[in-house]
């Protein structure tokens, strides 16, 4: 019984590492993406992965101080991506 919480914490650390790896892959798409819409989609995914990382960190440490940060970032990420999508026009490609 004492080994299970330590195992769960180790699994959460592995989850944080996997989130970091996937964030690196998304950053590659963000830098390479041929059009601005690719970069926009990649930025949305990056914001979602950042939210996931914050929630996993809060679950790992048991510290609930980051939960209002998660709410704020989910709102701001939506506003930013929709506002940027308004200025992407056809033919400009960036």
């Amino acid at each position: 019984m004492t080994g299970l919480p330590a195992l769960l914490d180790a699994v959460l650390v592995v989850c944080l590492v996997l989130l970091g790896i996937s964030a690196l892959l998304v950053v590659v798409r963000l830098l390479r993406g041929p059009t601005g819409l690719d970069r926009l989609v990649a930025l949305d995914v990056l914001v979602a992965e950042f939210l996931c990382g914050l929630v996993v960190y809060a679950a790992l440490t048991g510290d609930s101080a980051l939960v209002p940060v998660v709410v704020a970032i989910s709102l701001v990420g939506f506003l930013g991506s929709t506002t940027v999508a308004r200025f992407v026009r056809r033919g400009t490609d960036r």
Binding site: C15, L40, A42, D44, A48, V55, V56, V67, S81, D93
Partner: protein, 161 residues
């Protein structure tokens, strides 16, 4: 006995939450690989919805099972509700822009349901649609649309679009 059972319940809830977090993180990893390897904007949007909606919901459920405080659980419910409401809005805007521009590989599509609409005459989000009836003309409803399609572009400001 009571303290022991409560401890067992806590460990069980932690285990269920960890399983949910692992599933969400694996979805996020798969979506990142898909985002890097799929060919066009619409396919990448298909990959991008996994961490945005399902992955984040699983991770949020897992975090709520770990934290188990009333304020934290309701704030995480709020995060999930925000994602469910705002992800279709962003996807709609990005998908419409991708179909207007060159974000779609046309040779990969089986059905293009938007191909009949005059996308080349679409005035963009700042101007009114060309088929909106600005003057009431009940006599010629069908013919006037085809001839009036390029009309609003000529009067507008010159733009690089």
């Amino acid at each position: 006995m009571s303290a022991g059972s409560r401890d067992g319940l806590a460990v069980t809830l932690d285990a269920i939450g960890t399983v949910a977090i692992v599933l969400g993180v694996l979805l996020t990893l798969v979506a990142s690989i898909g985002l890097l390897s799929l060919p066009d904007v619409l396919s990448r949007m298909h990959a991008a919805t996994k961490p945005q909606v399902l992955g984040l919901l699983l991770v949020v459920i897992g975090g709520a099972l770990h934290l188990r405080t009333s304020v934290d659980v309701w704030m995480l419910v709020l995060v999930g509700a925000f994602q469910l409401v705002t992800a279709p809005v962003t996807a709609h805007v990005v998908g419409r822009l991708a179909h207007r521009g060159d974000g779609v590989r046309r040779d990969l599509l089986y059905v293009d349901e938007l191909v009949d609409t005059p996308d080349t005459a679409d005035p963009g989000p700042d101007r009114p649609e060309p088929d909106e009836p600005d003057t009431e003309d009940p006599d010629a409803p069908g013919d006037a649309e085809d001839t009036d399609v390029p009309a609003p572009r000529g009067g507008g400001r010159p733009e690089g679009a």
